[in-house]
Amino acid sequence: MTATSRIEARFAQLKKQNRKALVTFISAGDPDLETSAAILAGLPQAGADIIEVGMPFSDPMADGPAIQAASLRALQGGQTMVKTLAMVREFRAGDSETPIVLMGYYNPIYVYGHERFIVDAKAAGVDGLIVVDVPPEADDELCIPAVAAGLNFIRLATPTTDANRLPTVLKNTSGFVYYVSITGITGAAAPVVNDVHQQVTRIKGQTELPVVVGFGVKTGAQARAIAEGADGVVVGSALVGEIEKSLKQDGKAGPDTVSRVLATVKELATALKS
């Protein structure tokens, strides 16, 4: 194993502080590059322990309406992969500790070129990748080269990942395991807390890696309940929903777009600590 990654260091630190990780998701370039960069820069201070940055895609098949709309806003604002990587590079210049995970779909990476993407992501200061539609069966393509280059490859485990399949999913996973709390799309139905606890326990029985839970987590109380027994929670749709609510009539960023998102993150972080 190579030197400790930022993600590993962050989880080690959280463990020492006996805290759960708050993982936040925003779409790069939503609603525009400048606002998005300002949100990103403010997230660690607001209480985000790990940041997922969405690489916008025209056809986000696993996402619900909130993140679909966020992707679309970003693309309409002219967001590209080059701009997304530049945004991470700029963030990294001011923050050397908060892990950044790029999340999205395979096609924009495939078209950018796997090898070039891995090199450029690493150079920009990206720590991990979550690529929704590249299953372990296709590990040779992206996962293994990414891990070889020192990036963590974070895999989703779901309620349909049964005992037979779990080892396949865990095999090349690093950084943490992302447990998808529901069968469904992002931001959909609220997960049943007891089911989530059982599943997280099952996964933790098979891996040393931290397990964080996402999909459908919206409120502080919910986040706290879900995080019980896990190592953290992911909040995405609720944050991009705040962006949507803050927009002006013409769809452009409003005066409180940045502050509104960061205030929500603060609330969640406080709830998670209490």
Partner: protein
């Protein structure tokens, strides 16, 4: 990286009929690029289909339904006036528009509904573009008393109103999709979102030879009845195989169904006809993924896509709602790269004009989709000798397109 470079065009293959490999790849193309929630289902589907394929009672059931429900075999019709008019190849139409529900789509739906029942699934979902697949799905669901929900782009709902009415009459729940441009790709996104949410009881009945493995191979197998019949019928009528095959391509299920049984007959020339829309040089103005697109990954498979330089999918355009899909089945992508099939594009105007020619000369109103294939036949046939036996797959009838055609021709209905 085993699959990152395409070797399929380099080596001389012994057979073009053995694909896909065990991971679902045709050379570079195909595969299973889906979210983890769906992966166990895709693997279960693959096992269930392999078992069904090996079970003679499954095939016997399909054969029975093909004859007594769908009305197969469809005729191989000698189009004598088209032949005379064009003055070249001897033109035959494979009349799949005479099937129950009016297109080749029923071939696939009968196979998949039987499979869904074997798997114990109780709810069917599907996407549709022109509505031909949606009608075929609603039909088999009515026949087997299964609840069904069809996702259809809102734009398509508007321009294919006769098929919308048919689906509703058949008892399907129609979900208009407003995301994106409200066409076929958006309908497929929504169907995938439904599937991921209702994995436990739902079967996704994909309508074309695309999507994650095993769909491309499975849909091809169910559609191959077209090519198998053509082979037998041509041998019976002419005593030899055809020289030329032509079919239109959106996702490419009717085409792969006609082509596949002939892929290893090297002397048979094969043409796939894509939708050239306003022309290949018009940006985002066509739906020709292979002749005007680049490789990428969408809807579970790697294939040729209409996309921009940043990997964002374009909507594409065609006068035909059944062809304006920004991707194509992975087996076609592979057959393009290895050169076995020649892919060409036909514009909206050429297709419209071919539709009128066929209607006046043969008394058959073809759908706008096969009118693209016909337009290529009109170009190709005069360049071929009179002894050249040409088969075009007339995969759908034009009733559904009357409003669109009338509008373009300035006719009042």
């Amino acid at each position: 990286m085993a699959t990152a470079t395409d070797k399929s065009g380099e080596a001389k293959l012994n057979s073009y009929m053995t694909g896909p490999d065990d991971k679902g790849f045709f050379g570079l193309f195909g595969g299973r690029f889906v979210a983890e929630t769906l992966m166990p289902l895709i693997l279960e589907l693959e096992r269930a289909y392999s078992a069904a394929k090996a079970d003679p009672t499954f095939q016997a059931e399909i054969d029975h339904l093909n004859v007594h429900y769908a009305g197969r075999p469809s005729p191989l019709y000698y189009a004598d006036r088209m032949t005379k008019e064009l003055g070249g190849a001897k033109i035959y139409f494979k009349r799949d528009e005479l099937n129950h529900t009016g297109s080749h789509k029923i071939n696939n739906c009968l196979g998949q509904i039987l499979l869904a029942r074997r798997m114990g699934k109780t709810r069917i979902i599907a996407e549709t573009g022109a509505g031909q697949h949606g009608v075929a799905v609603a039909t088999v669901c009515a026949k087997y008393g299964m609840p069904c929900e069809i996702y259809m782009g809102a734009t398509d709902v508007e321009r294919q109103s006769p098929n919308v009415a048919r689906m509703k009459l058949l008892g399907a729940k129609l979900n208009p999709v407003t995301s994106g441009a409200g066409t076929l790709k958006d309908a497929m996104n929504e169907a995938l979102r439904d599937w991921v949410t209702n994995v436990h009881d739902t079967y996704y009945l994909i309508g074309t030879a695309a999507g994650p493995h095993p769909y491309p191979a499975m849909v091809r197998d169910f559609q191959s009845i077209i090519g198998k019949e053509t082979r037998e019928q041509m041998l019976a009528v002419e005593g030899r195989l055809p020289d030329t095959l032509v079919a239109c391509i959106g996702g490419g299920s009717n085409a792969i169904g006609l082509f596949h049984p002939f892929l290893d007959d090297k002397e048979v020339a094969i043409y796939g006809v894509e939708a050239g829309g306003h022309g290949l040089d018009v940006e985002n103005g066509h739906a020709a993924s292979m002749t005007g697109g680049t490789p990428g990954v969408l809807h579970g498979n790697r294939t040729y896509l209409l996309q921009d330089g940043d990997g964002q999918i374009l909507e594409g355009h065609s006068i035909s709602a059944g062809l304006d899909y920004p991707g194509v089945g992975p087996e076609h992508a592979w057959l393009k790269n290895n050169g076995r099939v020649t892919y060409v594009a036909i514009t909206d105007q050429e297709a419209l004009s071919a539709l009128q020619t066929c209607t006046r000369l043969e008394g058959i109103i073809p759908a706008l989709e096969p009118s693209h294939a016909l337009a290529h036949v009109i170009k190709l046939a005069p360049t071929l000798g009179k002894d050249n036996l040409l088969v075009m797959n007339l995969c759908g009838r034009g009733d559904k397109d009357l409003f669109t055609v009338a509008k373009h021709l300035g006719m009042k209905i």
